[in-house]
Amino acid sequence: MSPTFAAENKLEKFQTDTSVIAVERGVDTFMNACHGCHSLKYVHYRDLARFGIDKERIATWRGDSTLDSAMTSLLSDEAALQSFGKVPPDLSMIVMAREGGASYVFAYLTGYYLTPEGMTSNHLFPLTKMPDALEISTATDSVKRSEIMEQAHDIVSFLSWAADPQKAERESLGYYVIGYLIILTVLLYNVKLQVWSKLKT
C-alpha cells in the first residue's frame, strides 16, 4: 500500500492457508514459540472452537484458562520491559497492522541470519528486539530450514485468521449478495428499457 517499506515490494507473495488443519498446526507452534511473550487479547479460545478446532486440542493449549478467556500471555508487561526493554506487541491484528500483511510477517519470521560477528540480525527489521524464536539463523541443513519455513508458514496462517476471523463467512455471504445484485440489476435494466421504450418521441 504505502511506499514506506521499499523492501515490501520484494516480499514474496504469501499464500495464506486458512484451512482448519493449517491453523491448528499454527496455533500449536504459536503456543510453543510465541505465546510465552506475545498475547492475542482479541482472540478467545472459544473462537478457535467456533472455527472448528477440536475442544480437546484447545484444552491442551489453554491450561488453567477457561474456554472464554482471551489468549493472553502469562508474561507481565513489567517482566517484559526488564528482559527486552520493550513490551512485546499484541499479535491479534499484526497481519493487518503491517504494510505487506502476511507476506511481511512471514518474511520477518524467516528473516533472521547470523552476522559474520556471530550476532543474530534480521534482514527486514535489523533493530528488532525479538530473539530468533524459530532458530532459523542457526539452522544450516536444508531439511531443518524447510521445516522451520513450514512452521513459520503455519504461524502466519494462524495469525492471518486471527486478524480477520470472519473472512470465510464474509466472502461466502459476499457471493450471495453479489449474485443477488446481478439478478436485480439485470431485472431493473430490463424494466428501464421497457419503460423508456414507451416514451413518445
Partner: protein, 170 residues
C-alpha cells in the same frame, strides 16, 4: 411535458415489473437481518451465559444471590423444616409441586425477579416479599399474594458436582 403512455400495457411488462418488485422487496427484507441481528446479545455475552456457583459456603438456612445473564439468582439452602413445610403445600395462586421446582430438596434456585413488574423481592422471614407492589412468595418461590401473576421462575441449571451448580445449562 411529454406524457407517460401507459395505455398499451403489455402483459410482459406487468410481469417483469412484478418480478422486479418482489425481488427488490425480498432484498430489502434480507438487508434488514444484519441490522436487527446486531442488536441481539453479542458472542461475548453469549459466552458468559453460564454461571458456575460453588454452594459449599452457603450455610443451612442461608441465601446467596448470584448474577446470571445480568439477573439475580436466589440460591436458598433450605432447612429440613422449611423443606417439610414446602412439600406439604402446593403454594397459593399458581399451585405447583415443590418437587417440580427443585433438583435437590435442600437447594432452591430461582430467578429473583418478581413476575409482576421485574423488581427484586426481599427475603423476609420464610419466603420473599416484593416491596414494589407487595407480592409475596414462599420458600419454594411460589406466589402467595398478588399482584404477581406467576411463581418465581426456575432457571435452567444442573449439578456438575455435589456442591457445584452450573446455571444456564439444564
Amino acid at each position: 411535458m411529454a406524457e407517460y403512455d401507459d395505455l398499451d400495457d403489455t402483459g410482459r411488462r406487468d410481469f417483469l415489473l412484478k418480478v422486479t418488485t418482489v425481488v427488490t422487496g425480498a432484498g430489502a427484507v434480507a438487508a434488514s437481518i444484519p441490522f436487527v441481528a446486531s442488536m441481539n446479545p453479542s458472542a461475548e455475552l453469549l459466552a458468559k451465559a453460564n454461571t458456575e456457583v460453588d454452594l459449599s459456603d452457603i450455610p443451612v438456612g442461608g441465601m446467596h444471590t448470584v448474577a446470571w445473564q445480568g439477573k439475580p439468582i436466589f440460591i436458598l439452602h433450605r432447612t429440613p423444616e422449611s423443606i417439610k413445610a414446602m412439600e406439604a403445600t402446593n403454594g397459593g395462586l399458581k399451585p405447583e409441586q415443590d418437587s417440580d421446582r427443585v433438583k435437590k430438596p435442600e437447594w432452591l434456585v430461582v430467578i429473583g425477579v418478581c413476575t409482576h413488574m421485574g423488581c427484586v423481592p426481599n427475603k423476609e422471614g420464610p419466603g420473599w416479599t416484593c416491596h414494589c407492589h407487595g407480592s409475596q412468595y414462599d420458600d419454594s418461590g411460589r406466589v402467595l399474594r398478588g399482584p404477581a401473576p406467576n411463581n418465581l421462575e426456575v432457571p435452567p441449571y444442573r449439578f456438575i458436582a455435589d456442591n457445584k451448580i452450573m446455571i444456564g445449562q439444564a
